[in-house]
């Protein structure tokens, strides 16, 4: 005694796979999957056949063998008896190093150029336009080659020699040469940890003081001085402890000896050249992002801030930039990604990054092309995906704030 009858049970027909939109997607996906597997299988079969014919095999055994070559700039201990794997890790770290340094300087350059392009100063605005256009419209490889040539023209360590040298160290402690930049290196003596600890505590102290002052300002309207107490908290205790402990931190100043400068920290020429080239190139792109971000802010914001009596500098830092940042940061992070990927052009200046070690000398010496290129791509993919993950996390955070 049912009130209504069931709809007639549909029997599934093969033609539904083509004509029924509910099932058609399965057909398409099935076809796509089959084609994909067929394609991959075809390529793999070819690979196997080709390798067998050439008598080769895929093996990662070479990674454990001694690399046999030296690397001029390394963040970890490395000598030519270490394995190819360790050389690759040195390469990864070098890639990250130049990418990190490059991102910082590119950001600074980009913000200056982006703001400068909007400056009321005609000359500065024009100069910045020239800079941005010149670097955006010429391939990064050509810029790397040009800048590498410019770095080469700097004075050689030989010019620092003699009674009347052609070149002198900056303040007597930093040497700019065409082999790299030599800067003083701190020497940690006994007891230095006390000074460092005190310094870290001072930094925390500064933040505590500032947040206290801010709270006081908001709660009571009383304005505490910000500038000189911060500096005092930061420096005075550390300096006192430094002298009480008997000056436990020394400085090693680079000195000219033999063929080259010795001592200090050496930033080798390839690193300098690549760092410089990537920063100015990416800086031009970041400048455009910054400019677009600032221009995206409604003019009314500037006028409203001005009517509150803020001065132009404060309008920029308190009103415009905080809002513009939300527009600026996502494209800037993708520029960071580009910079990291462009750092693979290190090969043109002889910087031993990942492409130079694993994709360069290791590949040449072992002849293991497939294995090396595969690893190379995986490493870069890993780095890129990490940066993308950060970007997405940031985007999501900004989005939440908006709603």
């Amino acid at each position: 005694m049912t009130a209504y009858t069931d709809p007639p049970k549909e029997s599934f027909q093969l033609s539904q796979l083509i004509h029924d939109t509910r099932y058609r997607s399965y057909t398409f996906q099935f076809i796509a999957l089959v084609l994909l597997l067929f394609g991959l299988g075809y390529l793999t079969m070819n690979l196997i056949t080709n390798l067998r014919v050439a008598g080769l095999s895929i093996s990662y055994g070479f990674l454990g063998q001694p690399a046999g070559y030296d690397i001029n700039q390394s963040l970890i201990d490395y000598n030519n008896q270490d394995s190819h794997l360790r050389a690759s890790i040195v390469g990864v770290l070098n890639t990250l190093l130049v990418a990190f340094l490059g991102c910082i300087t590119a950001t600074i350059l980009g913000v200056f150029a982006g703001v400068g392009r909007l400056s009321k100063n005609w000359l500065i605005a024009k100069l910045m336009s020239v800079y941005v256009e010149a670097f955006r419209n010429v391939p990064v490889l050509i810029w790397i080659l040009i800048i590498s040539t410019i770095v080469t023209v700097m004075p050689s360590p030989r010019d620092f020699k003699g009674e009347t040298p052609d070149a002198e160290m900056l303040f007597g402690i930093i040497a700019f040469t065409n082999r790299g930049i030599y800067i003083p290196k701190p020497v940690w003596l006994e007891g230095s940890w006390v000074v460092v600890t005190v310094f870290i505590l001072s930094v925390i102290g500064v933040f505590a003081y500032r947040s206290y002052a801010k709270k006081l300002l908001f709660n009571t309207g009383k304005l505490l001085p910000m500038g000189w107490p911060s500096v005092a908290i930061l420096l005075v205790p550390s300096i006192l402890v430094y002298f009480i402990m008997g000056r436990p931190i020394g400085v090693e100043i680079p000195e000219l000896g033999g063929f080259n400068f010795k001592g200090g920290v050496a930033l080798q020429r390839p690193l300098i050249a690549l760092w410089l080239a990537l920063s100015v190139y990416t800086g031009a792109f970041i400048a455009e992002n910054v400019r677009a971000g600032i221009q995206a802010i409604n003019r009314g914001q500037t006028e409203a801030a001005a009517s509150l009596g803020l001065r132009p500098g404060r309008i920029m830092s308190l009103v415009i930039l905080p809002q513009a940042l939300r527009v600026i940061i996502p494209p800037v992070i993708s520029q960071y990604l580009n910079l990291t990927k462009n750092s693979s052009l290190a090969i043109a200046v002889g910087y031993m990054d990942l492409t130079g070690t694993l994709g360069g000398i290791t590949l040449n010496q072992t002849g293991r092309a497939i294995e090396c290129v595969l690893m190379l791509m995986l490493f870069y993919l890993l780095i890129s995906l990490s940066i993308s993950a950060i970007m997405n996390a940031y985007n999501n955070r900004v989005k939440l704030k908006e709603r």
Binding site: N50, V53, A54, G55, L56, G68, Y69, D70, I71, N72, N80, Q81, T149, T152, V153, S156, P157, R158, D159, N178, R179, G257, G258, F259, N260, K262, Q268, R269, P270, I347, A348, G350, M352, G356, G360, I361, L363, N364, Q365, G367, A369
Partner: protein, 338 residues
Amino acid sequence: MKKSVFLGALTVAGLTAGAAAAATLDDVKSRGKLNCGVTTGLVGFAAPDANGEWQGFDVAVCRAVAAAVLGDPTAVEFVPTTGKTRFTALASGEIDLLARNTTWTFSRDTDLKFDFVGVNYYDGQGFMVPKALGVTSAKELDGATVCIQTGTTTELNLADFFRTNNIEYTPVPIETNAEAQPLYLEGACDVYTTDASGLAATRAAFETPGDHVILPEIISKEPLGPLVRHGDNEWGDIASWTLMALIAAEEYGITSANIEEMSAGTNNPEINRILGTEGELGAMIGLDAEWAKRAIAAGGNYGEIFAKNIGEETPVGLARGLNAQWTDGGLLYAPPFR
């Protein structure tokens, strides 16, 4: 859709028939061209001139093989390769012969599955320093900054040399010879190291070559020679014996000038066998009787090629040294043609 057609057309344009695996000789013959891998540019060894014609010592080997196999020394397609791409280009069949001053080493011959067909230049790694430094021996180079051309065996030799002598150095790897020069000249490195022949060629291009010295130490053995894929022995024999024919031609005094005269027949049976007027040597390697005659006529014998491209009269200015005939105290020693 229009675009995909274009791709199809490109594919047609780019595809060239040819089996990578075996029977390279048949491929080369049916193609009518020899694909020969060379460097992207090294003065004296392989570099295109202002008209785009490849010239050089390695190039001459390619031309000789083309002349022997195809009867035309210009039937060569030169494929520029880097240190990185050269082995894959050969292994994948993109090129038939690699003549890119490649050092004959154990692992390349065995692990990478190639066959070196002989040695066309005996080299060794050396150092060049400015005279002003006052260095007379490589062992005085403690703490020096060294420019190296990468992608070669030089990096390994260098590391070994400094390790065995227990001295320090800073390597500056450079992609091409041309890029190493300004670094060295501007003092970004104290020393430039590569094969001694390369050093001489590089120094020759300097504004004041006299201000630079090549140190006496030769720290490695670098037998440079052409190579082919492992497994196609017929093709390997052809390349190998073409090179031998060039060397033997110098030993027996066959030059591009007198080759016509000599091929009319001489009273030296060895010369007759080389030039194909006696015996059946050509047929044994699948070629006609005059293969070696054409190879020699293409650019002259080994001595002529050497003198024309890298000899003392050229800007490169290399002495024969180890590369003299065994009869003159060198290492060149062609096996008998019989």
